[in-house]
Symmetry: C2
Subunit: 450 residues, 2 copies
Amino acid sequence: MTSDRPRVVIVGAGFGGLAAAHKLARAPVDVTVIDRHNYHLFQPLLYQVATAALSPADIAEPIRVVLRHQQNATALLDEVTGVEMAGHRVVTRFGPSQSYDYLVLATGSQYNYFGHSDWPQLAPALKSLDDATLIRRRVLLAFEEAETATDPVIRQRLLTFVLVGAGPTGVEMAGALAELAHATLSRDFRHINPQTARILLVEAGPRILSGFPERLAAFARRSLERMGVEILVDTQIEAIDRDGVLARGRRIDATNVIWCAGVEASPVARSLGAPPAQGGRVRVAPDLSIPGNPEVFVIGDAAFVTTASGEPLPGLAPVAKQQGQYVGELIARRVRGESAPSPFRYRDEGALATIGRHSAIADLGWLKLTGFPAWVLWGVVHIFFLIGFRNRMAVFLNWIWAWLTYGRGARLITGDTTRLALTPKLAPTAIVEDLVSEGASDHHRTKSPL
Amino acid sequence: MTSDRPRVVIVGAGFGGLAAAHKLARAPVDVTVIDRHNYHLFQPLLYQVATAALSPADIAEPIRVVLRHQQNATALLDEVTGVEMAGHRVVTRFGPSQSYDYLVLATGSQYNYFGHSDWPQLAPALKSLDDATLIRRRVLLAFEEAETATDPVIRQRLLTFVLVGAGPTGVEMAGALAELAHATLSRDFRHINPQTARILLVEAGPRILSGFPERLAAFARRSLERMGVEILVDTQIEAIDRDGVLARGRRIDATNVIWCAGVEASPVARSLGAPPAQGGRVRVAPDLSIPGNPEVFVIGDAAFVTTASGEPLPGLAPVAKQQGQYVGELIARRVRGESAPSPFRYRDEGALATIGRHSAIADLGWLKLTGFPAWVLWGVVHIFFLIGFRNRMAVFLNWIWAWLTYGRGARLITGDTTRLALTPKLAPTAIVEDLVSEGASDHHRTKSPL
């Protein structure tokens, strides 16, 4: 595949990266999509993997399958560790570095723990499939251990879930956990009283879902509270240890603390030396290129772009997608010697968040929906945007089945099954082995001084 | 749940353990099913998880769901580490020990590496879901690395798969890998020539599928060879290292060596002090109890039982199931003061093995089938015996989809994605980090002196 055609390297096969690749399908270029995973992940449904409703494979599609029919594109499984902008090369972890004529950085975001280096181990976040199976394991293990716990303090701690951050991810996790605890538990466990499971949604700001109109957020809040979720706003997390959190001076005992708070741009984008903005995002020119490097583009969560009114665009799939399409189109025009498109403008298509088994909120600008109609819209949109016919069928049938039976199709505890709570038989030195996660990410728990 | 009723402890929620539990549904006893996993695993389809055709959740059902409607039964997630027969207690890894009036050990088998302590790391076997996702990752990574390998020797090594042992598991893995390599690769990779992928099925005995009639095994052999599988019989593996095997004095370079050879009873059964037989299996009385301990039973792969003609029963699901039903019935009668049933007798229902996408062999005694009719029978039987309506639907639809598209629904590389082959960028000291697996089982690779 060595040719004289310009070489476009796209880093990241999320919504933005794949949209850029597809736009280049008929351009006279060679496209290489580099990703550290072999699959495109449909992140909006990741919380359903973490709560055992869907399997990892249902929301992931191999990048090679996505690009199968695009003859000018190839996939490369590797991790980009740096960009040599002067030499027009990206440096990768395993293989040789890759030269480019055009570079599209669609590397996404990662969770930001605000400088607390021990928090990622204590309060895992939901960004990858491995994160999701780790959280699924921890949540299901907590129920199993609560079933046999004889100490009521330990049992209550095991059945308490703290979600940090009340954006869409926190809200959706809270609803899913409430259903899991209150609907599933009551039938399958003999000793747990489902009423005792507590789900706390903790938000530092003054209200949940700050990205949504006030009326919709208030609806979501009432719905969650009816489902038994306790919502604490204006509440900053001050400390986390293996047995809970300290929030606004108050201690909350909880074995499971899940991080759904702020994100920051991924390290590669931050290492470019380009002017950084809020959250380490890269401030780009109106055509999404890096000032002074017209052949390097940053899109999606890694880019900082403002609307006409000066507000930063949110880190949402539609933003990444539109930016990917824009950059793909721009590169295609440039290699053909055509005029450049006008600066990027985001068409706001609205936002959705689901609350529970038949309730959601939808803000389409001209139309605001709540409850069941919003939930139907949410379901249709998510299945429509899933990549792959098999995945659409699988998710659809899983939802139908779950809706009819309250069942969860993927209630598996896989990987390390060491227990979460200290039982009398575990020696104190066993604590550090407690949370060894699957594979690459080492979650070693250490007792914090809290 | 403390009652005066006799307490039946069943260790292992495989085919045997669950059959025993179900038979006790209406008996005046309290049943506790202990398993170290929270799910019943449908092992006959595990090779399809390892070859990316099915998701783990498709072939696993939570034990709590299986026992949901059996009011006298409860599930306990724990690992039994020993049996105190004098005190009528089983010792568990995490929780308190469990006392019993009747004990059913249905702990299954594990792979036997014939005393080679380093082989399990070099040649993973297929016994658990974690094994299956590990093998899936290694197989898919080998294809990815072959796509970018520049050294033809390394590329060929990455594309060579050695399966050790030609029983049903080895044969089914060989067929599935041949399809994956030859049908899937050709479309999704740009640099690999699918003809270069080699699948070798290595068997120490004189023929493949020694448990099947000669004629059926010969059919399977011809089918596999037509699919490109190379079969080596009378070939003992003498050494394994990270780059291949030594077999009958001949070196075979292969990054992936998968162990499908002999099994032995799991350690708990072997630790009972009961008379051991072949493969560490426990020699039981005609009523499947341990001689001298009429309240302790061993069933399934862990038990050594012979037919009227003196042949040992094979380690198959129907054997375990019938033995579980027998023991459940026996205990139910005994607690009711009824007469004991006549000694256990196995009703041979036949055996099945699949070869490829539309071929299998079936030996029903009175009827022997090969090819497509056997494959249809194989599919129907496997879906019928799967537990859970959702799983049946999921497997059925995945098969239809795979059959129509040649696609694989679960082509995910999850967990640690460190590379398999040494690339120039990996320092030699990195070798030991090479194969760190998910969670508990540490697969550290070390260069063997071979």
